[in-house]
């Protein structure tokens, strides 16, 4: 609380809950975004009420701290192994307070939610810190901040700083919050730094001049890209770690052999099918003359538009569009048969010498549900596909809606050198599919390998990649012995559309020292954190595919150790939030994405639900409701129902 919080314009509603301030501060240091969201709230009513702090954080972001101050008592957080965290929580459960990370149905976002039941006149300050590695997609880095204060805030502020040693090519702040906020965002951009500020006044926040509700409800988005001079990428070394950012340009795309495998079972009926057809027509239109393609659609049966791959001539593309337009979804889902047929077509084409040795072969699989016909066991399907996919083919999976087992699709893709993405079954399905396709439609390099002097570096993250797609970026990191080294050299080898490439880069280990020391906002641990996040994500993916329980246990152990060392919430850790005495504790852990953990409302319906005092996931054994919690307590952020996955 600050003194000025007690004066000035009131932002209270009839429930007498007021937000004094809502601040978001974000600093991006070389793709590492550290974000703090702080909210100061007061219960101005005479009776106890629930205060809910709910923020959306990007999927894949790591929460690294949460604090809560209730009338001068500060709850701080620590990361513990999950069972240890649960044991602590069971020992000292907080009264009338709860915290957790819950699944949301927003694209690429999940919710962190805290509920506190506080007496009248109580002030609460919530502060969450999370970090994420911003990935380059479609030639741009996008930093999204979910801005949903729920009501008017006396002080509302978003402050973003970007520090990119490579130099900023451009910075955009598209007005995604609506016309209401035109011209309010300020942006100042230098060669390597940018500052973005969004500070709407109370009047500007109001939906209308006499409204008491806020118009601030949406995502605040910053897009930027960095300068790229060297094909070999940028090698940044700082504090004993190196990060290699690799995103070459000036390369022609490799020709593609692409098979689209589309689920046309009954569950696709309606909007999903309509949007899929729309997307497929657009995607087919983007094929290049050098590409070869075909289409398979499946329900309980598998149909091939053509027996083999055909050249992407305008007439073939038109015929494929007509074919897809005529699809009427019905029947069951035979995933096994469909994928095996697709691999058979690619294998046949390869055996017959129809594939350009320099081309990239891929299957794009689109489904909205589990198998219901043929092989139903997911592990068997996985095994069958893996056995039949050749090493130079990749499988990309798109899961539409929440009836699909996304973990399964992710495993399928990871095991077969591809990527997976959940597509949200709503009006945006078509554009989401097209966007995903755009990311894999321009393979520029194959077999990319990053080499560093073995005697000087250690703990390198994945350094060999099947493909590099235009508009994306490969990031490799590791530890480097800066004490005994003046320069670090890397050699990247890759196959381009018409040639072998060998690219070298040399970086002075002290090159960034001066730059970093002069910037008070730059995160001096950015290299270490990026390395940790890459390593944890890589270990999570490896664990997903581990063939034996013993190996899985070992990987879990490594992830746990990394999480504890670097203070990050992973599926194997939980955040314990406790008061100074340690006699009140809350628990927040990271959900895993699986079918059961998903949201209802696949078509964008977000039903409101009654408020709960302590969510069931945070309260494993029933407790008698306290007098305070028995009251119907409004929250300042009404949100849709959530299903929680406690891993």
């Amino acid at each position: 609380s600050t003194s000025d919080e007690h004066s000035g314009e009131s932002t209270d509603d009839s429930d007498k809950i007021g937000i004094y301030s809502y601040k978001v501060q974000s600093t991006i240091t070389s793709r590492l975004a550290s974000t703090m969201i702080q909210s100061k709230v007061v219960n101005n009513a005479k009776h106890p009420q629930h205060l809910v702090f709910e923020v959306q954080i990007p999927k894949g972001a790591f929460i690294d701290n949460f604090t809560m101050d209730v009338n001068g008592i500060t709850f701080t957080s620590s990361i513990k192994e999950k069972s240890e965290a649960r044991r602590m929580y069971a020992q000292a459960r907080a009264k009338g307070k709860a915290a957790g990370i819950v699944r949301s149905n927003a694209l690429d976002m999940e919710n962190f939610r805290t509920e506190v039941n506080v007496p009248g006149g109580t002030k609460v300050q919530f502060e969450i810190h999370y970090q994420e590695m911003i990935r380059r997609r479609l030639s741009s880095y996008e930093h999204t901040i979910s801005l949903r204060p729920g009501r008017l805030a006396k002080h509302l502020e978003v402050d973003i700083r970007i520090i990119e040693p490579q130099g900023l090519r451009y910075v955009h702040t598209p007005n995604t919050l609506g016309d209401h906020f035109d011209g309010i965002t300020t942006l100042s951009k230098g060669e390597k730094k940018a500052h973005i500020s969004f500070k709407p006044t109370l009047a500007q926040q109001r939906k209308c001049p006499t409204c008491s509700s806020t118009a601030v409800d949406g995502n605040f988005v910053v897009q930027y890209d960095v300068n790229r001079e060297k094909a070999a990428g940028e090698l940044e070394i700082f504090n004993g770690y190196f990060i290699h950012f690799f995103a070459p340009e000036n390369l022609d795309p490799l020709p593609k052999n692409i098979l689209f495998v589309i689920d046309v079972s009954g569950s696709m009926w309606g909007l999903k099918m309509k949007q899929t057809i729309e997307a497929m027509k657009a995607i087919l239109g983007q094929l290049q003359p050098s590409d070869q393609f075909s289409l398979l659609d499946f329900n309980h049966n598998v149909r091939c538009w053509r027996d083999g791959l055909v050249e992407a001539t305008p007439s073939q593309i038109d015929e494929a569009k007509n074919y897809i337009q005529g699809i009427h979804p019905n029947g069951g889902t035979n995933i096994n048969e469909a994928l095996l047929r697709a691999t058979f077509i690619l294998n046949e084409a390869k055996n017959l010498g129809m594939l350009d040795p320099n081309s990239v072969s891929m299957i794009v699989f689109v489904s909205d549900g589990d198998p219901t016909v043929g092989e139903l066991k997911l592990t068997t399907i996985q095994k069958n596909v893996k056995q039949n996919m050749q090493d130079d083919f990749s499988l990309h999976c798109l899961g539409i809606g929440f009836d699909v087992d996304y973990d399964f699709l992710q495993r399928l893709a990871q095991e077969n050198r591809g990527t997976a993405q959940r597509i949200f079954g709503n009006q945006e399905t078509s554009s989401q599919m097209q966007q995903f396709y755009s990311q894999v439609s321009t393979p520029l390099l194959r077999n990319i390998e990053f080499n560093y002097p073995q005697e000087s570096v250690s703990d390198i993250t994945q350094n060999s990649f099947h493909n590099y797609f235009g508009g994306s970026e490969i990031v490799v990191s590791g530890k480097v012995d800066t004490q005994n080294l003046q320069h670090l050299e890397s050699v990247v080898t890759a196959t381009a559309s018409n040639a072998q490439l060998v690219m070298e880069t040399l970086a002075d280990v002290e090159e960034l020292d001066d730059f970093m020391s002069k910037d008070k906002y730059a995160d001096p641990k950015f290299t270490e954190k990026l390395w940790a996040y890459l390593t944890v994500n890589q270990l999570l993916a490896e664990r997903n595919l581990a063939p034996t329980a013993a190996l899985k246990r070992n990987i879990t152990k490594s992830i746990l150790q990394m999480s504890l060392n670097h203070h990050i919430v992973t599926p194997f850790t939980a955040m314990v939030i406790e008061n100074p005495n340690g006699d009140e504790r809350m628990l927040a852990d990271q959900p895993r994405d699986n079918k059961k953990g998903c949201c209802p409302g696949t078509l964008g319906i977000t039903p409101k639900v009654p408020d709960k005092t302590i969510p069931s996931w945070a309260n494993p054994t029933p407790v008698a409701p306290s007098p305070a919690s028995a009251q119907k307590a409004p929250t300042f952020a009404m949100k849709p129902i959530h299903t929680v996955d406690n891993d």
């Binding site: 060297k230 390369l251 022609d252 072998q500 490439l501 060998v502 070298e504």
Partner: protein
């Protein structure tokens, strides 16, 4: 651009300058038998000095017909073209592009070496100038070793001297500038005056260059090169020189 023709057997260097208009493409080597073409496109300085606009090589094109490969070296990029595909490195890179036994090797901000089947090589040197210089622009230099196995039919402003010609220089005498003596050169039946002077070789020292003693042929190499320099203008970066 200036040309230095090194004649190892007679231990002489012959130099000449050619100042054509910016945008024009000069043929440097055209060898129909080995299927090798090297052309250079001219760029102009930012403005005239002493009522003269200096021109330099801004882009060099190599075409290796037997491999159907083209290499374009500009002051910005180095690009290998194979049919409709191209792969590029920038001058900020150190790296190599390898295709069909052709190696394009880039040394960051310094030079590019093109080696064909391990037998023939070319070096292009980058000359960077201060970005805000009022007159000068970035330009390229090309070095072609005499050991390259061109055929006897090789032509072009440089190619015609690949089999070392017989040059006779005599009657050395003081010139108008005492530091620059003059002499008479006899070449292919022509007799003309040449002037002694210095020219720069930038292969080893890219900034200051190494001084090379040279006999200058005036009037755009008139008498030393076959025909007139305009005979070496070609329409495209990968055009062979047409027989007159």
């Amino acid at each position: 651009p200036h040309f230095i023709i090194n004649l190892p057997k007679s231990q002489k260097n012959i130099c000449f300058n050619i100042n054509a208009e910016p945008g024009k493409i000069l043929n440097l080597v055209s060898d129909a038998d080995t299927g090798v073409v090297v052309n250079g496109q001219l760029i102009g300085a930012k403005k005239q000095e002493h009522e003269k606009l200096n021109t330099y090589f801004g882009k060099i094109g190599f075409y290796f017909k037997s491999k159907d490969l083209k290499v374009e070296v500009s002051t910005e990029m180095i690009t290998l073209k194979d049919g409709s595909y191209s792969t590029g490195l920038s001058w900020a890179d150190t790296g190599s592009i390898i295709r069909k036994r052709l190696l394009v090797s880039v040394k960051r901000e310094h030079n590019v070496t093109i080696t064909v089947d391990g037998e023939m090589s070319f070096m292009v040197v980058l000359h960077r100038v201060w970005k805000n210089h009022p007159v000068n622009v970035d330009f390229l230099g090309i070095y072609i070793p005499p050991s390259n196995p061109f055929s006897s039919k090789a032509h072009g402003l440089i190619g015609q001297f690949m089999p070392e010609p017989e040059v006779s220089i005599f009657n050395e005498r003081p010139g108008q500038d005492p530091k620059k003596p003059e002499a008479t050169m006899e070449f292919k039946g022509h007799k003309f005056t040449v002037t002694r002077g210095l020219q720069k070789d930038y292969r080893t020292d890219r900034v200051f260059g190494t001084d090379v003693q040279c006999w200058f042929v005036h009037n755009s190499g008139k008498g030393f090169i076959d025909g007139h320099y305009t005979d070496y203008l070609v329409p495209h970066l990968y055009s062979f020189l047409k027989n007159p």
